[in-house]
């Protein structure tokens, strides 16, 4: 099978007013197969949102793609012209944002906002577009298309707003959906509901998906593969089942252990949660060696000297850590 997206050695940095540019992504490579859900897991400052915005070339003005390629349907997104990008964004690749209450226009009815997306990409008659909109909205709101379509965003619940955003994203039939923390402002039941929507879209429309999150629990039973990002570098990449149950990279291990288990309770357990010491977003990353070294519970001599290289644990499972060779 031919991958739908192939990212090679992507480097992105941000210029800061005083001092050296900040490296947000360094040497990120991965492939995405058609109909595959890739979960990108990372904390703030890991570069996970930069990954989404750089693929669509929506970086803020101080962001720079310094090297790399990202082939999508035979075209390098990183070299594409503005005209080409306009044909791709929202039509072949769609982005679903975190905060549906901010991403939607507050004074335009939901249905119109979906129509705007269709009108931007398709030169058909309005009546055709309206029919298409109805089809899209009814796949997400089988019961009350008309009410939702006529509502302003503030009249909708968080879950409904997120569905409207998804309707916009799939309206033009893209083959790749990039979702950046699409459920983190929702409560758990609604989160699960939206994950189900994504799963159905994958099964019925054959969409491939990059699902960006800071919560590993959301990926369990949802993603096919998981890419763990830390400090702009890939820490681990492999099948979701393997990584979520038996992570190899010390960061992934420590992260999963720091999450409380549902059956724990204070009287019995009252213990501290095992934590990863420090805070990646406040301390500068080390300039030399492995980026996780200062917080790593399993650091070794080599870790400060150079960056670990990819170690293939199996055909589909890669880890960047000296423990496994590097």
């Amino acid at each position: 099978m031919v991958p739908i997206l192939e990212v090679q050695d992507l480097h992105v940095s941000y210029n800061s007013s005083g001092g050296a540019p900040y490296s947000a992504l360094a040497g990120v490579s991965f492939q995405l197969m058609p109909k595959e859900i890739l979960g990108v897991l990372g904390e703030s400052g890991s570069g996970k949102s930069t990954l989404a915005t750089s693929l669509l070339r929506l970086l803020p003005s101080n962001g720079n793609i310094s090297s790399g390629t990202a082939f999508f349907e035979g075209k390098d997104l990183l070299q594409a012209s503005v005209g080409e990008l306009e044909q791709i964004r929202g039509k072949r690749i769609s982005l679903v944002y975190q905060e549906p209450s901010v991403a939607l226009h507050p004074t335009i009815r939901a249905g119109r906002q979906v129509l705007h997306v269709l009108a931007a990409h398709e030169s058909e008659r309005k009546s055709t577009l309206v029919r298409k909109r109805r089809q899209v909205l009814s796949s997400l709101f089988p019961e009350d298309v008309d009410r939702i379509s006529n509502s302003y965003p503030h009249q909708l619940s968080g879950g409904q707003r997120q569905r409207v955003l998804i309707a916009q994203a799939i309206a033009c039939g893209p083959s790749l959906l990039i979702a950046d923390e699409p459920t983190s402002s929702l409560d758990p039941a609604t989160q699960m509901e939206i994950l189900d929507v994504f799963r159905t879209l994958r099964d019925e429309l054959g969409l491939a998906m990059i699902f960006i999150t800071h919560n590993p629990a959301l990926l369990a039973g949802f993603a096919d593969r998981v890419l763990v990002l830390y400090g702009g570098r890939i820490a681990e990449l492999g099948p979701a089942g393997t990584i979520l149950s038996l992570p190899r990279h010390p960061y992934a291990k420590a992260l999963f252990q720091s999450m409380p288990a549902i059956s724990g309770d204070k009287t019995n357990n009252g213990k501290k949660l095992p934590v990863i010491t420090g805070d990646s977003s406040s301390a500068p990353l080390p300039r030399q060696g492995c980026v996780f070294e200062p917080r790593c519970p399993e650091r070794m001599e080599d870790c400060r000297k150079r960056e670990p290289a990819a170690v293939n644990l199996s055909e589909s499972h890669t880890v960047f850590c000296f423990k496994y060779g590097g």
């Binding site: 619940s157 409560d187 758990p188 609604t190 919560n215 149950s245 999963f256 409380p260 309770d265």
Partner: protein, 272 residues
């Protein structure tokens, strides 16, 4: 002894109704709290869980005197704070502090850390000029932040540091009750664990009582002695955390548990 003690907080038949306009333009009544009753013993944690719109936050607002309940009583240290005048409430407010979900919205972006920390103390007139800096340093130390942050603005802090700062500010007035409204939800998992540990340590040291409002059942299970499950403005089930989560009797609790995303417990990496 603990069993005979009067609870620090006892809420009785608390009702809060809002008037709102519906889409047709006529006014309708929204019952945010429909008769809520519970008690919390001093030095313990009650987690209030429920889906969005179940009334958890309204409950926190009423107890912290930010909203006036429609009817019902809120007994705090033996006084009904639901019926106090605004003037009397000024003396109660310092003892009940509220921490919000998103510290980047609850800290003044134009102020420096020191001003943010000391504002409550200055408003209460509890501080001389000379006492200011040492007090700010002590407050920061209590939440594990160093004194070189005093002159920074909140934008220069990470999410975890900002939430620590929000906790330090809440602690400034030495409250007896801390209401944590989704106080961990906006943080990264590894930072959530750090703040959860900090909260437990502070509770042990200072004997504070927590009302922990959340939709994260796993964190509620970890932090709380008791748990109350809310649905549409009512408490559907309440009891010791372990009992409620292991043998839930109400459908809504079972649903919340089923909807909880979690790494399969059996599949967790063993702690070595």
């Amino acid at each position: 002894m603990a069993t005979n003690m009067e609870p620090i907080l006892r809420v009785e038949k608390l009702v809060k109704k809002y008037q709102r306009k519906n889409s047709a333009g006529s006014s309708e009544e929204l019952v945010a709290l429909g008769g809520v009753s519970f008690a919390v013993a001093q030095g313990t944690t009650l987690a209030v869980v429920g889906e969005s719109g179940s009334g958890k936050s309204t409950l926190g607002f009423c107890i912290s005197c930010l909203e006036n309940p429609t009817t019902g009583s809120i007994w705090f240290e033996g006084r009904d704070i639901a019926v106090l005048t605004e003037n009397e409430r000024r003396h109660i407010r310092p003892q009940i502090q509220l921490i919000f979900q998103d510290p980047s919205n609850s800290l003044n972006p134009r102020w420096r850390v020191q001003e943010i920390l000391l504002e409550p103390l200055i408003l209460q007139g509890k501080l001389t000029r000379e006492e200011m800096k040492p007090r700010a340093v002590a407050l920061l130390a209590q939440v594990g932040l160093s004194s070189d942050m005093l002159q920074r603005s909140p934008a220069k802090l990470s999410g975890g540091q900002r939430q620590r700062l929000a906790i330090a500010r809440a602690l400034a007035l030495e409250p007896k009750l801390l209401i944590l409204d989704e106080a961990l939800s906006a943080l990264d998992c590894s930072i959530q664990a750090q703040i959860a540990n900090l909260l437990m340590e502070l509770q042990r040291k200072l004997g504070m009582t927590y009302l922990f409002i959340t939709h994260d059942l796993a964190m509620a299970a970890h932090l709380a002695d008791e748990i109350a499950v809310m649905y549409r403005g009512r408490i559907m089930e309440q009891g010791p955390t372990r009992k409620v989560l292991r043998c839930p009797t109400e459908e809504i609790t079972k649903n919340l548990l089923a909807a909880m995303p979690s790494l399969d417990r059996a599949a967790r990496p063993p702690l070595d």
